[in-house]
């Protein structure tokens, strides 16, 4: 397989799909859907080749390195380590799922919709595999605008407000990050090294303390808004509520991970001193996010909003794990990202199924679904439990590892995080009870005769997620194995952090 640009194929196959879609007449919906699905599936198949990643081998594998804009030292450098690999797979799987799920629900401007989804896929995949900071930034921005269009065109009633808020929030963060990237590259070049944006070259360089502090804050804003961390989360509920189902799946499943990935890939190894110094603050914010997200989720009347706020809480776990700087914490953070992608993606998909039929998501309106659509109820239950963190399902491993890591950091922090495991059980189970076990409301009864259970297409879309949520819960070893090396490298970077004259800042 040597010499085959696997990563380029993974990343750019969707774009080839887009080019093909451009020549298909817009009225031929069937051809458009198949074409889009085929492009995404091909990308998925290519991404499966990454399973050949050798966990004991060199750090970045499947490397590709070509000159791009030589005047500025920008290169087209791609490569994956264990961390990128699992996230690439998550992205390709969830993209295929959302393209497949959109088969029925999307009936207007079908061509544009699939073009946006495929461009989005390329952007997200590119972020995970770019090893040149500039290239990373370009993909980061490319992934932003398709989502803007998806929410803005195919979204709910307040879609324009939601999508503009989403874009402006994200753009502020990412533009500041661009300045930080430039500052880091320039500082690196100022020491006499060649001017480069290459990740491996920039990493491990001793940047001045003030530069680290400012650059860290800029990176932090970009990533924290994406994660989203409290108090930068306010765009998320709006975006989720207004987004079409597939948009929500991608948004929660992959886009939030872009932020988490950014922290693990860039903030910590590039700016370890600043990371260590800022860690207490970030851990504090993460704790607030975990508890606040849980409490707010409890009182949400809208199903989608509830899942959205539970995301804030769960992504807080990711941040907590990332910044306690020990093996369990970091592994847990990565695991939690994958698990959250699968479970929340599935939950949004399931919410979408009921929404398509009733055009309502108010928990108070729905009720008693258990008797009418038992298979749907069973699946919803499965992912509810996965989200709570029931042992044997994927959510448990991540949360458990993070709490373990937090314990090694500080008992009180761990205790705070533990409380929320209870809170999450409260809001999820309470929601489940109201939606599935109560007496159906009068409002709901109007839909009763037409209400249908999960259909064949939806089963196909759900199937990979069901397999993953169980497999990841029962047998986490393969994933933990491939992410072990990246975790070690991050630990090495932050433990070697000198804190010269910087520690007393706090």
């Amino acid at each position: 397989m040597d010499g085959v640009p696997v990563l380029s194929l993974v990343v750019f196959t969707p774009i080839i799909g887009v080019l093909l879609l451009l020549v298909v007449p817009g009225t031929n919906h069937r051809a458009i859907r198949w074409m889009a699905l085929l492009a995404a599936l091909t990308s998925l198949v290519f991404s499966l080749l990454l399973l050949g990643y050798d966990a004991g081998g060199s750090e970045f594998q499947f490397r590709e390195d070509l000159p791009w804009i030589e005047a500025f030292g920008m290169r087209y450098t791609l490569g994956v380590d264990g961390l990128s690999m699992v996230l690439v797979l998550l992205t390709t799987v969830l993209s295929v799922v959302s393209i497949f799920y959109s088969w029925e629900p999307i009936q207007k401007r079908v061509k544009e919709y699939y073009i946006a989804l495929l461009v989005l896929m390329t952007g997200m995949l590119g972020v995970f595999v770019a090893l040149d900071l500039f290239l990373f930034y370009v993909f980061w921005e490319i992934s932003l605008f398709p989502m803007y269009v998806i929410i803005g065109v195919w979204g709910g009633p307040r879609r324009i407000y939601a999508t503009v808020k989403f874009v402006i929030y994200t753009l502020v963060g990412s533009l500041l990050m661009l300045v930080a990237i430039l500052a880091v590259a320039i500082a690196h070049a100022a020491s006499g090294q060649p001017f480069t944006f290459g990740y491996e070259a920039l990493r491990g360089f001793a940047y001045a303390d003030t530069l680290q502090a400012f650059a860290f804050v800029a990176f932090f804003l970009a990533f924290a808004i994406k994660v989203p961390m409290w108090p930068f989360h306010t765009w998320l509920p709006d975006a989720h509520v207004e987004a079409p189902t597939a948009g929500s799946i991608i948004l929660a499943g992959v886009m939030l991970k872009l932020g988490g990935y950014g922290f693990l890939r860039f903030s910590l190894p590039l700016l370890p001193d600043a990371a260590v110094s800022f860690a207490p603050i970030i851990i504090g914010l993460a704790l607030v996010a975990i508890i606040y997200g849980g409490l707010v989720a409890m009182v949400q009347p809208d199903l989608k909003k509830l899942v959205a706020f539970s995301s804030v809480s769960h992504m807080g776990f990711v941040m907590l794990g990332a910044f306690v700087f020990n093996e369990q914490g970091l592994q847990g953070a990565i695991y939690q990202m994958i698990s959250h992608g699968v479970t929340t993606g599935a939950l949004f998909l399931l919410v979408g199924i009921i929404y398509e039929q009733t055009h309502d998501r108010l928990i108070a309106h729905i009720g008693g679904l258990n008797t009418r659509v038992p298979r749907y109820a069973a699946m919803f239950g499965l992912f509810t439990f996965a989200s709570i963190g029931l042992p044997g399902l994927s959510g448990f491993i991540g949360e458990f590892l993070v709490v373990l890591g937090a314990f090694r950091y500080n008992g009180f922090v761990a205790a705070g995080a533990m409380i929320v495991v209870i809170i999450s059980a409260v809001y999820m189970l309470w929601m489940f009870q109201r939606v599935f076990f109560t007496v159906p409301s009068d409002w709901m009864r109007r839909f009763w005769p037409a209400l249908r259970d999960i259909n064949r297409n939806e089963w196909i879309a759900l199937a990979p997620l069901i397999v993953l949520v169980v497999a990841l819960g029962v047998y986490p070893a393969p994933v933990l194995e491939v992410i072990a090396a990246p975790v070690d490298r991050i630990m090495e970077a932050v433990n070697g952090a000198g804190l010269t004259g910087f520690g007393p800042l706090w």
Binding site: A71, E141, V153, L176, V179, A183
Partner: protein
């Protein structure tokens, strides 16, 4: 023999002069129905002048007793000028024809303005510089008021003329002070004479030159003429005005501030930084509240002026020549990229004004994606490029300025710049919202589909994307051009 050599270095200018005369002559013999022939004629002439630019590339000579310089910097500006000319000429005719604005005059005046920009870019003496400036701005006043039956066009033209002449006078006064202090009008000699000097009188000279210069680029607080002039002018001409004279004015700023006043750059930097921040911020804030796309683009062009000024500020603050060159390079790249995307954006507004009672309001963009997918997509890409989103030339231009600013130790300016860019995203994306996320008006106005315009739009958008993905070739040109200053 010398005389002939000198003439060859002036080949692009000579071709433009010939083109002006040809247009006037040919116009006389064309019947009304055949006037459109002037457009291909002008484009052909401009292409020829562009080819001549290739001939004088790398000549690097000062001719006519030090009054005129043909260095790579000037050739770059000339090439960019020709590009601007070609795009503007292609976009304008159908808009003008509907409004019965004579095409012959338009082409002739436009090419004359281009000639002024040529002279400006090549001036190595304050006298030539002023001549070039006037040769550029006089036709610009005329172009603004070209729609003589429209009172907004008249108002814009008159305002532009009155304030512009005033600024020119101030500029001239500054030049005379500089002459009084240094005893020379030659730019290189002024630069040499000013080495290590500073005095109250010099400060006065700098002040006058700065006011004159920033007026011409429409920087805050000397920008008040811009919105009215831009809104009043026929839309495709607004596109030209927002980049053409601006490019000329930046050539002027570079010649005056980065060449004549280069030794004093630490002294003019402070006030220049203040103007830079004010320009980008106020331009954006006011653009936010505009509901007319044409006016919004007018204000946003002020913001872009601010971004370009940041490149010049980076030049002035640079610790060494290499970084200083980067500042100038970023200005050149930005001006070029901005020219392409902004003319095209105004042109799309113009295309939606096929109905002469339309003035480019946001509503005329409603649902454009379903009415004219190609134009909507083009406008969408242009808006993203103006916002500065990869992979477009607008992004790369901003990146270049940011890089120069951070490198020159102006990281705080870079931060202000990106916050401004995020603010700008709001109003640029509003156009996208209208095009893609709203339904068309009940009674949508017709859209202009002239072949020239479509070709130019296609080329511009392709240029915006290709330059964004592979800017390497232009970067190399820009680097060589900026090097002629150092």
């Amino acid at each position: 023999m010398d005389m002939l050599d000198d003439l060859i270095t002036l080949l692009p200018e000579l071709i433009l002069v010939a083109l002006v005369l040809t247009i006037i002559t040919v116009d006389l013999f064309l019947s009304r129905a055949d006037k459109w022939l002037l457009t291909p004629l002008t484009v052909a002439g401009l292409v020829l002048a562009g080819a001549a630019c290739v001939v004088v590339w790398d000549v690097n000579e000062t001719v006519y007793a030090g009054f005129y310089v043909v260095d790579d910097l000037s050739v770059f500006f000339k090439a960019a000028t020709i590009l601007i000319g070609i795009i503007s000429v292609l976009f304008a005719p159908s808009y003008l024809l509907v409004r019965r604005i004579p095409l012959g005059e338009f082409h002739m005046i436009l090419v004359t303005a281009l000639l002024g920009m040529f002279v400006l870019a090549s001036s190595s003496d304050m006298i030539t510089l002023f001549l070039g400036l006037e040769l550029m701005t006089m036709p610009s006043y005329l172009l603004t008021g070209l729609h003589k039956t429209d009172r907004y066009s008249n108002e814009g033209g008159l305002k532009y003329f009155l304030l512009g002449s005033f600024a020119s006078a101030i500029m001239l006064f500054g030049i005379s002070w500089l002459y009084g202090i240094t005893g020379s009008t030659n730019i290189a000699e002024i630069g040499a004479a000013l080495e290590g000097r500073m005095s109250g009188a010099l400060l006065v000279a700098i002040g006058f030159l700065l006011v004159g210069g920033t007026f011409k680029i429409a920087a805050v607080p000397f920008h008040y003429w811009t919105p009215d002039a831009y809104q009043g002018a026929p839309t495709p001409i607004t596109g030209f005005l927002s980049v053409g004279p601006k490019l000329g004015a930046f050539a002027l700023l570079i010649r005056v501030f980065a060449e004549a006043l280069a030794p004093l750059r630490a002294d003019w930097l402070g006030i220049f930084l203040v103007l830079t921040v004010l320009t980008m911020t106020i331009g954006n804030v006011v653009a936010l509240v505009q509901v007319n796309v044409k006016r919004m683009l007018a204000y946003s062009s002020i913001a872009h002026t601010g971004y370009i000024m940041a490149g010049l500020a980076a030049y002035a603050n640079a610790p060494n020549d290499e970084t200083a060159a980067q500042g100038i390079e970023s200005v050149l790249f930005y001006v070029l990229g901005y020219a392409v995307m902004n003319i095209a954006a105004f042109a799309v507004v113009g295309m939606l004004q096929r109905d002469t009672r339309r003035f480019g309001g946001l509503n005329s963009f409603a649902g454009l994606a379903s009415r004219s997918p190609g134009r909507a997509a083009a406008m969408g890409i242009l808006m993203l490029s103006l916002t500065g989103i990869p992979p477009t030339v607008g992004f790369f231009a901003k990146l270049y300025v940011l890089l120069a600013a951070v490198d020159a130790g102006l990281a705080w300016l870079a931060v202000i710049l990106v916050l401004n860019a995020a603010m700008a995203a709001f109003y640029y994306l509003r156009v996208v919202v209208y095009m893609y996320m709203r339904d068309p008006e009940a009674d949508p106005a017709p859209i202009d589909t002239s072949p020239f315009g479509s070709v130019a739009l296609g080329l511009s958008v392709a240029g915006v994307i290709i330059l964004g993905l592979f800017p390497g070739a232009v970067l190399a040109l820009v680097e060589v051009s900026a090097a002629s200053l150092f």
